[in-house]
Symmetry: C2
Amino acid sequence: MRYSKQREAINTYLQGTTCHPTAEEVYEQVKHEIHDISLATVYRNLKQLQELNLIKRLDTGEGEARFDADLSDHSHFLCERCGNVYDLFDELVAPEDIADKLGKGFTVGRKMIYAYGVCDKCNK
Amino acid sequence: MRYSKQREAINTYLQGTTCHPTAEEVYEQVKHEIHDISLATVYRNLKQLQELNLIKRLDTGEGEARFDADLSDHSHFLCERCGNVYDLFDELVAPEDIADKLGKGFTVGRKMIYAYGVCDKCNK
DNA sequence: GTATTTGCAAACGTTTTGCGGCTAC
DNA sequence: GTAGCCGCAAAACGTTTGCAAATAC
């Protein structure tokens, strides 16, 4: 894989944020630095970074994917009122637990946990 | 809400299957019974049934949503080789546990757990 | 020099919507 | 009679792709 300032900028932005942006949001942010970057390039690089296991893709059910550079085994909480996505670092279930419960012969590579509700700020 | 034979057929089909079909698959199946049903009607009714909490929508990250009439609190395992979706009925985490771990003020309504790997049949 | 990446525009697949006609009640 | 539903076709949406020009090395 060859260097490109576009990929560098996308990766750097994702590494430095905890806000789980969508592709569109990544595009808007990186545009501040690289004015003529295209949305297609953002999508292409997000896909490559996923394949290199440098970022994770979150399919939260909102219609558009979100991206997360934090590779630690954690879950996400989506506030249905404000739309914020919160990290939940307590490991809730280990992949091995899931494999055990599925039964003999199953191999679990990864898991995604999404919780939905109302956050503390919106509950006030 | 008014009765319609289309909605009835969609709901009946979903209640009677455990295969987590996509909208397209629901359409293909229900067409056996109602030959001139349209895909738009399937989508409209799937959305209504969701809103009535009669079915759940699964966003597995495959690009298309799947639908599940089993409302019990369970998880899903997707085999990345054969594409099958398996139910996992052992309750892995309770919503209350998640709320506890998020902290004071958070309310968790529902959660979705998706595990990915290779199933017993494909592992042979 | 050449293989990879880019921006652009067009295409894609899934889902939603506008509309005029039909149906439940 | 009328509000809600239908089928159809077109639009909308997020995402991917084909292409010729630019870039990394």
